[in-house]
C-alpha cells in the first residue's frame, strides 16, 4: 500500500496523520484513565463511561452557547471554563450514581455491568429528551483553529496540540493524586485489599465514592476534548467505549504509563492506517495487532514486577 508514495511524502503523511490523531489520543487517554481507575478500584466495569463523556460534551456545548450569546468578548476563553464545568458535572453525577446505585452492588460484578449498562441507556434517553436527537457541534474559538506549518508538507493542528498538552497535564495531575496524595494512597490500599484497608482505618466507602466520581469527571473532560473531533449526540459515547476498553486492556489495567502508551499506539495506528485503508479495515488491523501482542504479553504492555 505504500508503493505509490516517495519516502519524503510517506514521512509527511505519517507526521500529518500522527498529528491529526492527537485529539483522538487525548480523548482515549482521558477515557481510559477514568475507566481504569474505576475498574482497578472497585472492579466495576463502567458501561456508562461513554455517557459521562457525552455529558461533558453537552456541558461544553452549553458553555459555548452561553458565551457566544451573552459574553462574546470572552468567547476565545470559553473552553477553559467548559472543561472545568464538564469535569464538575460528570464528577457530581458520578458521585450521585455511586451513592444511589453502585455501592449497593459491590461484590457482584455482573450486576454492576448490567446496572451501568442500564444507566447508559437511561442517560442516552435523557440526553435525547433534553437536547434532542440531532447532533450538535460547538464552534471553536478562532485562535484554536488552523494549523502551524513546520515544513511545507507538514502542518500541526493547533487545537490538537492544545488538547494534548492539557491531557498530559491532567494525566500528570492524576499521577500526582494517585501516587503522592493521601487519597491516592488510600485508593491503592483499597485496590489491593479492601478489608485490610478498612482495618488500618481507611474509610473505604468514601474512597469508592471519590474514585468513581473522579473517574467520571475525567471522562467529562474527555467529552470537552471530544467536541473538537466529533459532533455531540445522545449515543455518540457508545462509539468510544469499545476503543477505551481496548486501550485499558492493552495498557495493562491500573498502570498509568501503560494506559498512555497504549492509547498512543492505538490512536496513532488507527489514524495512520485510516489514510491508506478504509476506516473499518484500519480498525480490524489495529484489533488484530492488539490481540497478537496480548497473546505474547497477557498482562498488557506494562506490568508491575513484585512478589504476590
Amino acid at each position: 500500500m505504500f508503493e505509490e508514495y516517495t519516502m519524503s511524502e510517506l514521512t509527511s503523511i505519517f507526521a500529518m496523520q500522527g498529528f491529526a490523531g492527537l485529539i483522538l489520543f487525548s480523548v482515549l487517554v482521558l477515557m481510559a484513565l477514568g475507566l481504569a481507575i474505576i475498574f482497578g478500584q472497585m472492579g466495576v466495569i463502567n458501561m456508562a463511561h461513554g455517557e459521562f463523556m457525552i455529558l461533558g460534551a453537552y456541558i461544553t456545548y452549553l458553555t459555548s452557547i452561553v458565551f457566544s450569546e451573552h459574553l462574546p468578548d470572552l468567547f476565545s476563553g470559553y473552553f477553559f471554563l467548559a472543561m472545568i464545568l464538564a469535569f464538575l458535572g460528570s464528577f457530581f453525577l458520578g458521585a450521585f450514581v455511586e451513592w444511589s446505585m453502585i455501592r449497593h452492588l459491590y461484590k457482584r460484578p455482573l450486576d454492576t455491568l448490567l446496572a451501568t449498562w442500564g444507566l447508559s441507556l437511561i442517560l442516552q434517553q435523557l440526553y435525547r429528551t433534553i437536547f434532542g436527537a440531532r447532533e450538535v457541534g460547538v464552534s471553536i474559538p478562532d485562535w484554536m483553529m488552523g494549523s502551524y506549518p513546520i515544513t511545507d508538507l507538514i502542518e500541526v493542528p493547533i487545537n490538537g496540540i492544545f488538547v494534548m498538552v492539557l491531557t498530559l497535564f491532567i494525566s500528570l495531575g492524576v499521577y500526582l493524586i494517585m501516587f503522592k496524595s493521601s487519597l491516592g494512597k488510600q485508593t491503592r490500599a483499597v485496590v489491593q485489599n479492601r478489608d485490610m484497608a478498612g482495618a488500618v482505618g481507611i474509610n473505604t466507602e468514601k474512597v469508592d465514592r471519590y474514585t468513581y466520581a473522579i473517574g467520571c469527571g475525567i471522562a467529562g473532560i474527555a467529552g470537552s476534548a471530544f467536541t473538537m473531533i466529533g459532533s455531540t449526540g445522545p449515543t455518540a459515547g457508545q462509539l468510544y467505549i469499545v476503543d477505551t476498553f481496548l486501550v485499558v486492556v492493552f495498557g495493562g489495567a491500573s498502570n498509568l504509563l501503560g494506559t498512555i502508551a497504549s492509547a498512543f499506539t492505538i490512536s496513532q495506528a488507527q489514524s495512520t492506517l485510516e489514510f491508506f485503508l478504509s476506516g473499518s479495515m484500519a480498525k480490524v488491523l489495529t484489533l488484530l495487532t492488539v490481540v497478537g501482542i496480548l497473546m505474547l504479553l497477557p498482562q498488557g504492555l506494562f506490568a508491575l514486577k513484585i512478589r504476590r
Binding site: 489491593q192 485489599n193 478498612g198 482505618g201 474509610n203 513484585i306
Partner: protein, 229 residues
C-alpha cells in the same frame, strides 16, 4: 476497658464463636491460645469489623463497637495485625505505614515507629511485597501502631517466623506496651511465646473459652494438653 459480653460470631448457620465473655484491662497482654480452626482468626476479624458479630456486645472504654465499620473501630482505638501480615504489596514500606495514619491527624510517619523497627527505615522505599516474612510482620505491626491504638490485636504473629526472631518479637511487643500504654490481645499456637509475652492466658476450644488464667498461675502441662491434638 475492652469488654466482650455474650459475644457470638457465625458464618451463616455455623456458629464459630460462642458466648464469649472477657474483659481486657489497661496495659494488659492477653494471649488467646487454640489449635487450628478453633476460631482465633474469626474472633480477631470480627473484633476489627471485617466480619459481623451475630450477638452480644463489644465495648471499648464504654463505647459500643458492634455496629461500627472497621475504619470507625480503628478511629476509636483498635489496631489490627492480621494472620499472614497482609501488607499492601505494591506499595512501599513507607506508604504502607502511612496508610495507618489515615485515622489520625498526622501525615508523616512518627520517628518512634522507625526507631522501634530500624529495618523498616532502611527499607522504606522498597515495595512491601518484596520484604521477607519477618520484615513484613514488623511492617504490619508498624502500620497498626501508626493509628495510635489503645488496644492492639495480633493474629498469630509468630506464624512462619524462626524461633530467635520470635523471642525478639516478644521483647518488642512488651516494649511497645510500656512505651505506648496499650493493651494487647494476641492469638497464638506457640505456647512458649504466649508464656513469654502474656499477663494472662485464655484457651479457646471450638469457639468457647475453656480456660482463663493469670500467667503466674499457669499449669503448663494442662495448656499443652489443650494444644496437642
Amino acid at each position: 476497658m475492652f469488654e466482650l459480653k455474650d459475644y457470638h460470631v457465625a458464618y451463616g448457620q455455623s456458629e464459630v464463636i460462642k458466648n464469649m465473655n472477657f474483659t481486657l484491662n489497661p496495659k494488659e497482654i492477653v494471649a488467646i491460645l487454640g489449635r487450628n480452626g478453633m476460631g482465633k482468626t474469626t474472633l480477631m476479624k470480627s473484633l476489627i469489623g471485617m466480619i459481623p458479630s451475630s450477638k452480644g456486645s463489644v465495648t471499648l472504654q464504654g463505647k459500643e463497637l458492634k455496629a461500627m465499620k472497621s475504619h470507625e473501630r480503628v478511629a476509636s482505638g483498635l489496631g489490627f495485625v492480621p494472620q499472614g501480615r497482609m501488607v499492601f504489596s505494591t506499595m512501599t514500606v513507607q506508604e504502607n505505614i502511612e496508610t495507618g495514619l489515615t485515622s489520625t491527624k498526622r501525615n508523616s510517619v512518627p520517628d518512634d515507629i522507625y526507631s522501634m523497627f530500624p529495618v523498616l527505615q532502611e527499607m522504606r522505599k522498597r515495595r512491601g511485597g518484596n520484604l521477607s516474612g519477618g520484615q513484613q510482620q514488623q511492617l504490619a505491626i508498624a502500620r497498626a501502631l501508626a493509628s495510635e491504638p489503645s488496644v492492639l490485636l495480633l493474629d498469630e504473629p509468630t506464624e512462619g517466623i524462626q524461633p530467635s526472631i520470635i523471642k525478639e518479637m516478644a521483647k518488642t511487643l512488651k516494649q511497645i506496651r510500656t512505651q505506648r500504654n496499650l493493651s494487647i490481645i494476641v492469638s497464638e499456637q506457640v505456647l512458649s511465646f504466649a508464656l513469654d509475652i502474656a499477663d494472662r492466658i485464655i484457651v479457646i476450644e471450638k469457639g468457647e473459652i475453656v480456660l482463663d488464667t493469670p500467667r503466674d498461675a499457669v499449669d503448663e502441662s494442662k495448656i499443652a494438653a489443650y494444644l496437642s491434638v
